[in-house]
Amino acid sequence: MRGMDKVPSRLFYVIGLALVALILMLAATWLANIAPAMAVGVTTDGGFSITSHRDGRVYLWNLRERSKQLITNEGNIYSAYAVPGRSAVMWQDTARKVHIQSIDGESLLTFASKHDTYGHLITEDLKTYISSDDGWAIYMGYGPDRTTLKAHNSGNFLGFGKLLNLAYNEGSGVLLSAGDGAPSYGTSEYFSFERQSGLGYMQMDGVTLWSLETLEPIAKLPGNIAKTHATLSPDGQWVVSGDENGNALIWPTSAPDEDHRMMAASYHHGLLDLRSELPRGHPGRWDRSQLIDPPDGVTETTVSVKFIHESRYYLRFGYNSHYAALFEVDNPWPLKYFDLGQRPFPATDSYARNLAIDTAPEAGILVMGQRDGAGILVYQFDPDELTLERVWVGR
């Protein structure tokens, strides 16, 4: 105590002020940093990532150098997209101009779009551009040559609470769309091609395959219920879908019909035999033989499905869950559950943000937005050990 008399009281004031200043600065940084990513893209080689945030900022991240760079403050929040097969990214600004640029910043292509994009994609050669809007329309191209595959249905984005998810495989020329599954998508005349054709296919909101050549739907892939996300394997051979009722379905694109459809096992109950004659709810309909124990906090309610290794392994992300389930494409059983970490919590908290999860399957890289913060979470998949490790938290 006696030693304290020697410390000038002025010092306390200085320390106090410094603390206050520090707190204010932290608060300011924190406040400025709270716009989470709404869409995330990662380049094919796993080297770069683009994110578009809720406050309009678009960032380009160098995953190897662990740095980031602001591209714009005026971005469309859902527009971040990594161009496949190149070191290039795409985004749209609030004036509806679409920008494709190399990671060096060199502009490769810009064009004006007629609508704000609610999800878009482009091919490696930059020749084919597909985009959706808030009415879950599907457009090919832009400008006067823009053609419509699926007509705008006013209110879909707001009504269903998510974007229409799109995936494209250049090799097969097949476009995949997934929005929301109606229980009778496959059976009701309401959703028949004939009836929908007269409506511009505007109610074909379930998992659907389209031909970019004929601009017509090829097949409906029914079975998912309510909010649905679907993805194509890199080789274009498989469609994998997941919905908010916990169903995940796998189809070969060569035979997209119910006979060839597979259903993933339930995490808690095992594999359900949909063709069983036993009445629904009978335990005999479930095969538990290869079930692994799911940790607490795992949920089948699916917000996104993404391939993580070539066309072999894919991940299923649960709604509001920090776990992802690993599957092999022709195997219905979950192989492993990966804990993505809770601090920061990954962006699985909203179906409208299901674009904030992207992978580079050739490199085994997974990039996710954060639930609360504005940064990204980067993970590396090891196909031999079957591990998924968080390698970086980008802030």
Partner: protein, 708 residues
Amino acid sequence: MGDLTLGWDRLPLGDTAQLAFTVRDAEEGQRVTIEVLGADDQPVDQFEHQLTKGHGREILTWKPDDQAQADIRILQTAEDDEDPAGPSGLHFHVILNGNHSERSGPLLLTADLEVEHTDTQDKPLPEGTQVTLADAEGKLHVSHADSAGRTRFDKVLIGAVDWVFGSAQAAAETVRIADQRSDPSSHCGCQVLVGAPTIHLKAKHLPPPVMINLRDDAPSAAPQVLSEQELNYFREQGNNALLFVHGYNVPLGSPGQLFARIPHDPGMFVNAREAGWERLSWTTWLDWTTWPATVQQDPEALGQLYPRAANRLTDEALNGIGAHNWRVHMEHQLNRAAGFEGFDRDGGEAYTRILGVAWSGDVLAHDFHRSELNAQRAGRRLVPLLRQLHQAGIKINVITHSLGARVLLTALNILGEHHTDLLDHAFLWQPAVADNALSNSPASDPHPFKVGVFPYAHRAAKQFVVLHTVNDGILGGRFNAGGWARRIMPMPARGAAMRNYNEHTDPLEEAIRDSGGAYPKKWWPMPTAGLGGPLTGLYDEFSPLLAGGVPGYDDPSGGQRRVHSLNWRHLREALLDEMRRYEHLDLTDPDPLPEYHLLSPIATRGVIRKDHVECYLDQLHDLIENRFRVGSAPRSALGHVGFKEIRGQNEFIRDHSAPGGKFAFVEQDDWLFTHGGMKIPSDPLFEEVFKKRIMQQNLLPNSSFGKY
């Protein structure tokens, strides 16, 4: 050069009008144009006249052209209702040298008017229904419909007329007059202009609304099934019926009033001498205030059009209160969602009535369990109605809100014992029942009487759609703050500013939510509430059930409480007696359904048997001994968590949420912030649940609503 003044004197009634006006400083032989105008100031006739003198009074006669078709024009409430409107009859003015004179007083021409009233399904107004017509002079004419729905009114002043039906049960708002569509919220009569001595007019009205009152306090004569007329209505309107069962804490209430007829300024009239026409406000002539509005009116839109009346244009005044308010809003939103674009665009024929169901859910806000008992009673009363529709071959879809789910599930549990797929869809919106309520097994039912699960309910409908949200403050507390970022999804693509949806929350519900929600506390012992309150009330004649002290209340002394053995024996006997009264009933589909009183806490099955009563007695005894405290908490509400918790535990529910199953669970966290938020939905909510989820993804592909 000339000057005109018009005569103000009333002319005798007849079918020829005398037009009188005074001229000054004109010339004999000078040509003038006479224009006869209607109540809306549009010309009805125009002709030339040569003045007989340059100075003095001119008198001509005019007779409406017999050959002309009756010209009927619908009147809408004037936008600027403060403007002392001109006469509502025919009048004229004179044009001299391009100058218009002032408008004359009314031409008191009369005609006989015959109106043929049919509803939007072309059914005639029931014979004998009284129709009261007010004419431009304010004179009332009464007629009774004949078997073709025709009414006749003699010597009606040509001009604006309006009518009201004598019985709200016979007909609702007029939506079509001649071939013109009329929007009920702004319709205020029509104008009869010219025509033959007898003017024939066809008018269409909406059929009356359908509300089934299953309340405990419903008058004994109140029907609990549909009338033959109502059944026919649904048969012909697409052979389907869409029911809506409201939630907890909703009184019966009363309907609202039509805006066009709410007195804007009662008793206003303009002095004839000064402005040329003596007129009383419509509303003082007919007792419009008792006329219920049966279709929704938009208080905001009307308030903008008529700002001076805006403070009176509340949702309550226009759309009613309680169950009536819910019915009007739901009917409107469902028609909109199915594609209805308004009475002025689609006409009344497309508009389809829903079936509103009222039940006694309105107890004190914290007295949840009592409301649940009421819901069970109402569910039993719903059974005959569902059976009636099913037997008539009418497709049935039901939407429930909150505790209305318990009403429906009780009914479906009873029907499901012997029927499958009675309903096409059951939409359970924020259902206030246990998350395992749809399970087929009462195992893991923490309810002390095992009525948390409705094991047969799933059989009675083809598809169940459960709409849930963690943001429902009544059904449960917030799970985790999870960053306030989550509350403002989804955002429009350009939306950089943080939109604040807090305007949709109700501060009381916020407070309830922050304290964990009301539903999870439904078994908490509380004076007159919890489980003890309703049960001790029910078994009042056997009280006290606990020896010593006041039953149902906590005993601060913590002394030995024992079930009062004598009273308990009497209660036991009474319960078994009640059971015996009905146990002989046919197990398969008892009709009528027994109405249990003392056994009502377990009356979620058709017929209660001895073993059910024995189980109940054990459970009740334990409960009483425990001073009405339940050892466990209720399961989370289905409307709060959906099947998040049950999915991993229950194979049956998981099976039915797989492709081809009966259950679809839809989370709507981002949209629904208050428990009652869906009644007057915000745009996003409307789009989601009604248009997309209910209509597009489920109801229209697999069933139907109206003729949409």
